[in-house]
């Protein structure tokens, strides 16, 4: 590993993307991801990369579409309302089978909401988000280190399956500083010359990138092919972390990202009082670790989902648990993060 540095999450993910070979970045400023775009503005010219502040999020994601179609490692970043604007482009990138990385440092909503950390865009991130039948792999980091590690991982997944990949952080992870280490080397980019535009190998090797299929049977076939890819992603890319799982716990906590950090400290605090809680943290929100959550919930009296929203992931938890035991929800809107004491008392209420 390289040297350890103290960095904001927004800066760490930007640095990791550059180290991973990303040389094209297009975005539009929005809080709380501003440090990311500013970091790219400063660093990209130093590595002969492209930084361009687009006229809008809509333009930025379409610049990503253009660069991705030419087979380069390309990234954009934004926050909730900006991601809503990017959804048209993300749908086209997914349909066109192009690799791209989108960092979403989420904030409070709906509407303009606020700039405080929330997890209320879970539905938008994990259910395609734009129009049409498609999914985007979604990675949810819980530390600044993980935020950074997910940049190269996102590029690898994007290139392996030819899909846009979203890293779903939140305002807390974007703004907080933690020590982070960058590896000395990263996996190289997969050769795009078979499909990329401007990469003709012979005069007849004309490449077309398209998402229009007027014939309904052809569109059906194309969509089915897309879903075969999604099955492969589900088989190979599900990631999660368990905590205190071996313990003789009657209750299971499910949380992701920043909420999982708070939940972990609650697990530790309650352990001292003699209450054993197991915790599972989905790292991929799509594909969702349904089997792992179901397995972890086995024999439990209750499953408690904790989110910084009014309850979105809890629907996936319920799908996983499938009525085997009650699923309770602890949530919070507005962008106020639970204090450890608060979460402990809310969990106590649910298990008493």
């Amino acid at each position: 590993m390289g040297k350890k540095v103290l960095m904001k999450g927004n800066e760490a993910v930007a640095e990791a993307a550059i180290l991973a070979g990303c040389r094209h970045y297009f975005a539009y400023p929005i809080t709380p991801q501003s440090e990311l775009i500013e970091y790219m503005a400063k660093k990209m010219p130093l590595v002969d990369g492209t930084f361009l502040q687009a006229e809008s999020e809509v333009a930025a994601i379409n610049m990503v579409l253009g660069a991705a179609a030419c087979g380069v490692r390309v990234m954009t970043s934004s926050s909730s309302p900006g991601i809503s604007l990017k959804q048209e482009g993300i749908s086209y990138i997914a349909a066109s089978r192009l690799p791209a990385v989108i960092v979403n440092v989420t904030r409070g909503g709906p509407g303009l909401g606020n700039i405080a950390p929330m997890q209320c865009d879970y539905f938008q991130a994990t259910r395609g988000g734009g129009h049409g039948d498609y999914y985007t792999p979604v990675l949810s980091p819980s530390t600044v280190q993980e935020f950074a590690d997910m940049a190269p991982l996102a590029f690898e997944i994007a290139e392996k399956y030819l899909t846009p990949v979203m890293i779903l952080g939140d305002g807390m992870l974007g703004q907080m500083m933690e020590p982070v280490e960058f590896p000395d080397s990263y996996a190289p980019q997969k050769d795009p010359s078979e499909w990329a535009l401007g990469a003709r190998r012979t005069p007849d090797d004309r490449h077309i990138i398209n998402s229009l299929y007027i014939d309904p049977y052809v569109l059906q076939e194309k969509t089915e092919t897309l879903f075969e890819v999604y099955e492969e992603i589900k088989k190979n890319e599900i990631r999660f972390e368990t905590y205190n799982m071996d313990a003789d716990a009657k209750y299971l906590i499910v949380a992701h990202g920043t909420a999982a950090r708070v939940a972990k400290s609650a697990v530790d605090a309650l352990k001292e009082e003699g209450v054993e809680l197991a915790l599972i943290r989905p790292i991929t929100l799509w594909p969702y670790p349904y089997d792992a959550v179901a397995e972890a919930a086995k024999g439990k009296e209750k499953v408690i989902t904790i989110e910084l929203s009014m309850g979105q992931m809890v629907e996936d938890v319920k799908l996983a648990v499938c009525g085997e035991c009650p699923v309770e929800f602890i949530g919070k809107a507005g962008g106020v993060v639970f204090t450890p004491e608060e979460i402990v008392s809310l969990i106590r209420e649910k298990i008493s």
Partner: protein, 255 residues
């Protein structure tokens, strides 16, 4: 029958999907011929819009991508930044370029991205069935302006050449027409020049082509051309609005 000129290598053998009398075929041919004559077919990436010409990816013999409605200049920006050694052009209609894609058009032009924009203006929304476009003439009927376009309500037709030529760094802006053989020869020169400028790295070139939509206008092709000459050209005057590279060359010569 005497064949004066065969098919251009710049177009594929695919049969054009346009209505009889539509001038997209002529516009395609001019771009195809220019790519062939400049020897850049294999180096060029075309961008197909949303609208009647969405199927352009079947027709141009270069690499082509089909993109969201109005976003072609942004996609072209990403492409040109990723592959500055390639020639990138967009092919857009008036709804695509002057309505839903106004922001992308103006900002790509303001940055003077080294791309070429071909803009086909037929004063209507063709594919969706003849609705009002930003370029629809005052008083002209459309399915969404059934009583004729009322400028006091919907504004005056937008003149993109005039707007874009105000931007400091745009390189070449010309409006041509496809309404007569003589006009078509002139249009060919403009198309080729625009692509040449991009080979030379001169920045954004923009060629507007005044065209027709016989189907949605409800006229036969010849009548449509006559109608366009009489009614469109006074609103959309032809000519070179800007030729920065040529002006700079002239200034240099004078020195």
């Amino acid at each position: 029958m005497t064949v004066f000129k065969g098919r251009t290598k710049g177009l594929t053998d695919a049969k054009l999907s346009y209505c009889p009398g539509c001038l997209h075929g002529v516009a395609h041919r001019l771009i195809g011929e220019s790519m062939e004559e400049l020897g850049i077919i294999e180096k060029t990436i075309g961008i197909a819009p949303v609208g009647c010409s969405v199927f352009a990816y079947n027709f141009f013999a270069c690499d082509v991508i089909q993109v969201p409605h109005g976003r072609a200049p942004a996609v072209a920006t990403g492409m040109h930044r990723a592959r500055p050694d390639r020639i990138v052009f967009t092919y857009q209609g008036d709804g695509d370029l002057a309505a839903i894609g106004t922001a992308e058009t103006i900002h790509a032009a303001n940055r003077s991205e080294n791309i070429t924009i071909f803009f086909v203006n037929n004063a209507t929304y063709g594919m969706t069935g003849g609705q009002m476009a930003p370029t629809t003439l005052p008083g002209m009927k459309a399915t969404t302006a059934p009583y004729g376009r009322d400028v006091s309500d919907t504004g005056y037709p937008m003149r993109l050449c005039e707007i874009l030529s105000q931007l400091e760094m745009t390189n070449y802006i010309e409006r041509v027409s496809l309404l007569s053989p003589k006009d078509i020869l002139k249009a060919k020169k403009a198309v080729k020049k625009a692509l040449q400028y991009n080979i030379d790295g001169k920045g954004l070139s923009f060629v507007e082509m005044i065209s027709t939509c016989p189907t949605n206008w409800g006229m036969d092709p010849l009548k449509a051309r006559e109608w366009a000459k009489e009614n469109m050209l006074p609103v959309f005057p032809l000519g070179v609005f800007k030729d920065r590279a040529a002006e700079e060359a002239k200034e240099k010569e004078a020195e």
